[in-house]
């Protein structure tokens, strides 16, 4: 199945974000829902099971100057096997203009046994743009070993590289479940916050999570592994993450690791 969807938002002359384009096709259907404040919320509604190996899906998101858009998905997506040798692909291409905000907070991607899936995200944030970007990966449904999944996150800020991360799990990814990568944790993910009004936060670390100020601008990455999706979400909820920032008062508290 091939499908494309596109979402473009602008600010109208009253300063409110409006959609100038919202179109999709099954299984990438987009629905606007009422949102508090001047922003706008869009849900991606899966119109079919999957992605199934062989699917080629693409979503373009364009947030114009000063506009604010929040994107969720209604449910986790489950990457499933298809015909032998086929790979499913999901490309999200997003641009965030100056003074614009994109909150990309989808549900998890679940790697089912035997799947072959590549999730590509390419995000361009202009100087002065705000981005919250969450990726969560669950390695297998309950009691299941995952197929091959690659999650590629490429983010540029003001035309310069900010974040390049490619996480691979499954039989083709050597050592992925071992102590150098996930140590057997079935859930992993990250939350990137780019915010021109907040300097990059000092590093902090716990047993299975870390808060990482990036080199390329006012941006912080939360990275975590967890025993399940629910625990992972606790690490990667923007409100909680930002509370941790506030609570630390920028003093650079570092977590709980024994001195060896």
């Amino acid at each position: 199945m091939r499908a494309t969807a596109r979402l473009a938002a602008r600010v109208d002359r009253h300063g409110r974000t409006t959609l100038v384009e919202l179109r999709g096709e099954s299984p990438l259907l987009l629905r606007q829902v009422p949102a508090p404040g001047g922003g706008l919320t869009v849900y991606v509604v899966g119109g079919a099971a999957g992605p199934l190996a062989g699917d080629d899906l693409r979503l373009d998101v364009e947030v114009g100057p000063g506009a604010a858009v929040r994107v969720h998905t209604v449910a986790a997506s489950v990457a499933l096997p298809g015909r032998p040798g086929a790979v499913s692909r999901m490309l999200v291409r997003a641009t965030v203009a100056e003074r614009a905000t994109l909150l990309w907070l989808p549900e998890q991607l679940v790697a089912a046994a035997g799947c072959a899936h590549v999730a590509d995200s390419r995000v361009d944030v202009a100087a002065g743009g705000t981005l919250h970007w969450r990726d969560e990966l669950i390695c297998g449904r309950y009691g299941e070993q995952p197929g091959n999944v690659e999650v590629n996150t490429w983010v540029d800020l003001d035309g310069r590289p900010l974040l390049r991360q490619s996480l691979a799990v499954g039989p083709n990814a050597a050592g992925w479940a071992g102590p150098a990568v996930l140590a057997g944790a079935p859930a992993t993910g990250s939350l990137l916050i780019v915010d021109p009004d907040r300097p990059a936060e000092p590093p902090a670390v716990g047993v299975t999570w870390a808060r990482l100020p990036l080199a390329g601008g006012p941006a912080t990455l939360w990275s975590a592994t967890a025993p399940d999706a629910h625990t992972l979400r606790e690490y990667l909820e923007p409100e909680t993450a930002l509370d941790t920032i506030a609570a630390s008062g920028g003093r650079g508290e570092r977590g709980v690791v024994r001195v060896g």
Binding site: L163, R164, S166, G175, A180, V181, L214, R258, G260
Partner: protein, 227 residues
């Protein structure tokens, strides 16, 4: 292509660039109880090779490829920024730059005629793989050989640290390295091929626990290894 001896000299852990002081995250992984014996060490090394090893080898090979190009300063600056974007952990960025500085010091003394001045002038030092690329060029290595040196260093550094940290039998650890030789060569070959791509397309293989281990290790007051 460099002579065999030149390749061996650069890959030797006794090359005076301070590599022996680093465990590449292993000390923190051992303290967290994630690496405890030969089997978990093997899994650790395989994961390192496929992630940090691939990225380091590709960037070293790319820097080697840029060594004789016109516009070399611009190419190296771009590689430096792309490698920063692949190194989310500030502790890991700092370790890579410190190791780069140490290797640069050795390179300047050993090959005084070579020029290293086009490396990005970052206060903490240039990233280690970039310096390795230029040192490799000075020694006459081709990009594939530079990638081999980088991939080899990824596994040997942690392996010799494991002998000290876990008291493992050195013969068994060496036998493990022998078993990993094929994987190491495959990663180097893949890195050398990838290095021909534009910098933004170079591998970015990530490992959440590598970031977590590096940040945890940086908080310790007492440690055996510098990383």
């Amino acid at each position: 292509m460099a002579t065999p001896t030149m390749l061996l000299l650069l890959a030797d852990g006794r090359f005076p660039a301070g590599a022996h002081a680093h465990s590449a995250g292993l000390e923190a992984a051992v303290a967290a109880g994630r690496v405890t014996d030969l089997d978990t060490l093997a899994a650790y090394l395989r994961g390192r090779l496929a992630t940090a090893g691939l990225v380091a080898a590709a960037f070293a090979a790319a820097a080697r490829g840029a060594a004789w190009s016109t516009g070399r300063a611009g190419a190296l600056a771009r590689l430096d920024a792309e490698l920063d974007a692949r190194t989310a952990s500030p502790a890991q960025r700092s370790v890579s730059r410190r190791q780069g500085r140490a290797l640069l010091r050795a390179g300047r003394r050993i090959w005084p005629a070579a020029t290293f001045d086009d490396l990005p002038t970052v206060p903490d030092g240039p990233h280690q793989p970039l310096v390795l690329g230029l040192v490799g060029a000075a020694a006459g290595l081709d990009p594939g050989q530079v990638a081999t040196v980088a991939a080899h260093a990824t596994v040997t550094g942690s392996a010799s640290a494991a002998v000290r940290l876990l008291g493992l039998d050195p013969y068994q650890v060496q036998a493990l390295l022998v078993r990993l030789a094929g994987a190491c060569d495959a990663v180097a070959a893949r890195a050398a091929r990838a290095a021909e791509e534009p910098p933004e397309r170079l591998p970015a293989a990530a490992a959440p626990l590598a970031d977590i281990h590096a940040e945890a290790h940086a908080t310790w007051e007492v440690r055996l290894f510098a990383s």
